[in-house]
């Protein structure tokens, strides 16, 4: 704990510890060194969300590094939630980057295993996976709370990061998913961001289990929302993206909205979800992943009554 009783002192941590319903967004760095493009994306999120997830070579496609992109956000006064995957770095690079991002003013970090490189634009790559996401969570906690590297050596100025982890209640086997979440929280996750939710019945059941197991008291759980832009997107996600559960009823609903109105229907569904999450036991906030749709976030936030964001000291 730092002097103020907070683990990292990030805006996101303050928002959650103050009991406010958190709201995080997401921004994929550009496929190039185009800083203006990155700015354009995150400027849509300024003042709208509490922190912006910066993805790390998401879907194994090479982009500007999440470290650099996160640092650019810090420099422009927007709080990033730095994502790190285990696919591309061994433990030396991981620990070096953890120190590096902290030195650059980054205070939130989401620990992920990472999509297999098979998905991406360099499927010939050698993968690393020296450690996995569970161990990455434990490592960041060790570096922060014990002030040591993996080998036990003392760190001169430990990185005080707010530790995030992902949870996918929709991957298989379902029965195990709640235990995997429990493992991540035990390993040291302070907050959880879930995979995007479409099957609300399953998620309600998952959260009931999480609450019954006391998990929601040990970590802040943010529900993942990705608005559908079209029936086609919904069908693609249902069929092609492993671990995403899109109920047929949602596809029908989007379809029946008719041409030109599917995006609005997708947004309406997302807003209904956010309204339900506000009331759902164990949910501490929403993580809105508007993929290549950042400019829609202010409108969604407004219509979901997430604005203005609470003032934090």
């Amino acid at each position: 704990m730092s002097d103020n009783g907070l683990k990292s002192g990030s805006n996101l941590e303050k928002m959650l510890t103050a009991g406010h319903f958190a709201f995080t967004g997401e921004c994929g760095p550009p496929k190039g060194a185009n800083v203006e493009h990155l700015k354009e994306k995150f400027e849509h999120l300024r003042g709208i969300v509490d922190a912006v997830n910066i993805t790390d070579n998401q879907t194994a496609v090479v982009r500007m590094s999440s470290t650099a992109a996160s640092a650019i956000l810090v420099a422009h006064g927007v709080e990033p939630n730095f994502q790190m995957v285990c696919r591309d770095r061994n433990r030396l690079a991981i620990m070096a980057d953890i120190l590096g991002v902290y030195a650059l003013g980054i205070r939130n970090m989401l620990c992920l295993s990472g999509d297999h490189q098979h998905f991406g634009n360099h499927p010939e790559a050698k993968n690393v996976f020296d450690i996995d996401s569970m161990q990455l969570i434990a490592l960041v906690k060790m570096m922060r709370d014990e002030g040591t590297f993996m080998n036990g050596e003392e760190i001169n100025v430990p990185p005080k990061l707010f530790i995030g982890a992902a949870s996918n209640p929709f991957a298989d086997p379902y029965e195990f998913r709640i235990y995997r979440l429990a493992n991540k929280i035990d390993a040291g996750a302070d907050f959880i961001q879930t995979q995007c939710i479409y099957n609300m019945d399953r998620f309600r059941d998952f959260m009931k289990k999480a609450v019954d197991m006391g998990l929601a008291e040990k970590a802040y759980i943010l529900a993942g929302v990705t608005p559908m832009k079209s029936t086609r997107m919904a069908q693609y996600m249902a069929k092609k993206v492993p671990g995403i559960d899109v109920p047929e009823s949602l596809i029908k609903r989007l379809n029946s909205a008719g041409k030109g109105k599917q995006a609005e229907e997708g947004i309406k569904f997302a807003i209904e979800q956010i309204e339900e999450f506000k009331e759902m036991e164990g949910i501490a906030g929403v993580h809105l992943m508007a993929i290549e749709w950042e400019h829609k976030v202010p409108e969604i936030a407004e219509r979901a009554n997430m604005l203005p964001r609470p003032e934090i000291d």
Binding site: H118, F119, I131, D132, M134, N168, N183, P242, G243
Partner: protein
């Protein structure tokens, strides 16, 4: 066993294009069992290479040998008398074989005819699957003798990842998610709680990451 696949005819032809006399050497070990480099496959490849060379209007003389094991100098020695009579030696053993031949006959040119793939076994006739990554520190007792290091695409010690769907791995519908199998086995046996245990950082020094490996049994060393 070590499982291999034969290289493409084009690649093999390219390797030996400058030679007229080739010694083609099979192995009675793993590659015989996985039907890629035993006596039969040596015969087939020799015929194909000769036919292909004839089509080019050029000559190719191939002699065939299949020895007990190419990973054993005792058997490799059986080739010594013949080795110098050829322009090059083409080995159908796993990657160990050509290297033992190269060490035994340093003046000779040695080429591999197969791609060595993994440690595994036949799951049905004609299909072999990987089971072991040879990491040097076996941990399968934690996972009911199912290896996530070799069989999870990400070698996760804490799985399954968020890409596991319908028992399949996120990389392909053709690949089983080993973590799905591990979890289901634990559930069937009422021991899911085993998977609540945190596993520490793996020491990869015993794997190839620690550099080329040796196994020394002092009692056998002469």
């Amino acid at each position: 066993m070590i499982v291999a696949d034969r290289k493409s005819l084009n690649e093999i032809q390219e390797m030996i294009k400058d030679y007229k006399k080739i010694l083609l050497v099979g192995c009675k070990g793993c590659v015989t069992v996985c039907n890629v480099g035993g006596m039969k496959e040596v015969q087939v490849l020799a015929s194909i290479l000769k036919i292909a060379r004839n089509k080019e209007g050029r000559e190719l003389h191939i002699e065939e040998r299949t020895i007990e094991r190419q990973c054993d100098f005792e058997y490799v020695e059986q080739l010594r008398a013949d080795s110098e009579k050829f322009d090059a030696i083409l080995s159908m053993a796993c990657g160990v074989g050509p290297q033992f031949l190269a060490e035994a006959f340093p003046a000779q040119k040695i080429y591999p005819a197969v791609n060595t793939k993994f440690f595994g076994g036949a799951t049905q006739h004609g299909i072999w699957e990987e089971r072991c990554a040879g990491c040097g520190t076996c941990v399968i007792h934690f996972y009911d003798s199912l290896c996530p290091i070799a069989r999870c695409a990400k070698s996760l010690q804490h799985g399954p990842c968020g890409g596991s769907a319908n028992g399949k791995c996120e990389i392909s519908n053709e690949v089983d998610c080993i973590w799905d199998i591990i979890v289901r086995k634990k559930m069937e046996q009422g021991r899911l709680e085993d998977l609540r245990t945190y596993r520490g950082f793996k020491d990869w020094r015993s794997a190839r990451d620690g550099g080329p490996r040796k196994s020394i049994r002092k009692e056998l060393v002469q």
